[in-house]
Symmetry: C2
Subunit: 305 residues, 2 copies
Amino acid sequence: MARVCVAGAGVIGSLFAAHLARVAEVSALVRREEHAEALRTRGLRVSGRADFTAQLAAATSPDDLETPELVILACKGTDLEAVAARLAGHWPEATVMTVQNGIGADEVVAGHGDWRILAAVTFMSGTRHEDTHVQYVLDTATWIGPARGTTYADALSVAELIVSSGLKAEAFADLRPAQWSKLIFNATVNTVAALTGLPHDPHFAALDRPDDLGHLVRGLMDEGKAVAAAVGVELGEDPWEMNVLATERGSAHYPSMLEDVEARRRTEIDMITGALVREAQRVGVPVPLHETMERLIKAKEDSWS
Amino acid sequence: MARVCVAGAGVIGSLFAAHLARVAEVSALVRREEHAEALRTRGLRVSGRADFTAQLAAATSPDDLETPELVILACKGTDLEAVAARLAGHWPEATVMTVQNGIGADEVVAGHGDWRILAAVTFMSGTRHEDTHVQYVLDTATWIGPARGTTYADALSVAELIVSSGLKAEAFADLRPAQWSKLIFNATVNTVAALTGLPHDPHFAALDRPDDLGHLVRGLMDEGKAVAAAVGVELGEDPWEMNVLATERGSAHYPSMLEDVEARRRTEIDMITGALVREAQRVGVPVPLHETMERLIKAKEDSWS
């Protein structure tokens, strides 16, 4: 039986940990001792698209956990540096999988150890009701690809493990087309939502009047596509089509950066828009609209301190 | 003795009405009967840079007020259409002076009557504590110029009247250089403040890091200057220098659009950024950053309904 450690038990981490605990030995590495204690004694309940309670190990230090073969880094991008630092010196044989938004997570992780690294983007979503209860909302897939020292076969075997646990997953020989589609989509939808207070609703696709929001959304996505083309990535899905489809679906998604802004938490701007802007500078593509969004979000973060 | 009607008794209207009541017969045209009643019975108190209580007439309909020679339209830009409509058919011999932010106020007023029109921009500021009490904070000047059917001499005589009342005022043969400097300044500082939550503080002049806010502020001002140049207006003050000076002064000004957004009120975006974008389109100058700010603010307004 495989041994998996899930580092970070927010929505995504909890969904992975609970499902995988049905087919593997799972441990959760969390920040608060109270959280670890609750998971150890009460287990982790999933509601929504599935309904069960999983038993798992949990601790606040890697020293108190068994050595895993696979570590899923499921924390937010803003916590990645700190979580990777806590793993430094541990479990050198393990494969580490990142699931953060944006690009560049593997680089952050590689700064703290020589692990073999898989990269993933996830489209599943949920709502965390308490430390020991997560609701499984959108059962869309997690896409996995090789990043450092890993191969398509490694991605395939992790995808199979995840699928056997009841979640959706798919392996790719090259994750970048999917990663970049999601990066452009996120850099646009998250920042626009965070600045306007609108969930991802039909405003984002409106093009009727010159001052309609869809023009800005399309402009941001066009800049992103130009960067991807210059970097040499052929996009998986077209971000504008993803946007139109998502806003036509009816239930308006609440982007995580909007939640962060409303809770006055630091956002993932550095790993999403920041990463896109840095790539744009590297390949010499102008991105004035993304620079504008980055400066506005960073200034908004500054307004809280 | 001159007869002046001040339409709209917010901060600016109250400051004009109270001061002018010391040298002229002043009436206030307000929206709420309770407000008119309070002004009639208790007068209008000024604190801060001056300290006195003025007696004045007040009503909710022009029919209940004596015919004035000068009407100061001191309402917000968002109320201008409604206030001008209520004056339609009244006081055809009066000179009407607009004090709204942005440009185009004279056009709105001219749509409701054949009055002679003066345009003004004001830099004074205050805090309204109650219907009958306004605090005079910044004693900067009001600048006045001819707009429709008026001359420099008309502007001069109104400026003299205002100066004799204890406020600062100056007449200009052509107000557009001042109006455009303030338009560009406001279109930038108001929208950036409203989207970030920051008052007009040193962030607005910061240029150290590429993601610093000053780059966006300067980019917005450069777009505005290009429009002014294409329109044929030579700017009075350089908006970027106004910005740097204002943020160095220490006490961070709280722009009105930020107040509007925090109170979830409709903003003056149409008369400020909207006016600038319309002029830019007319003269064929691209303003992608101002279009971005306009779309974000309008979407933010939509998020409240």
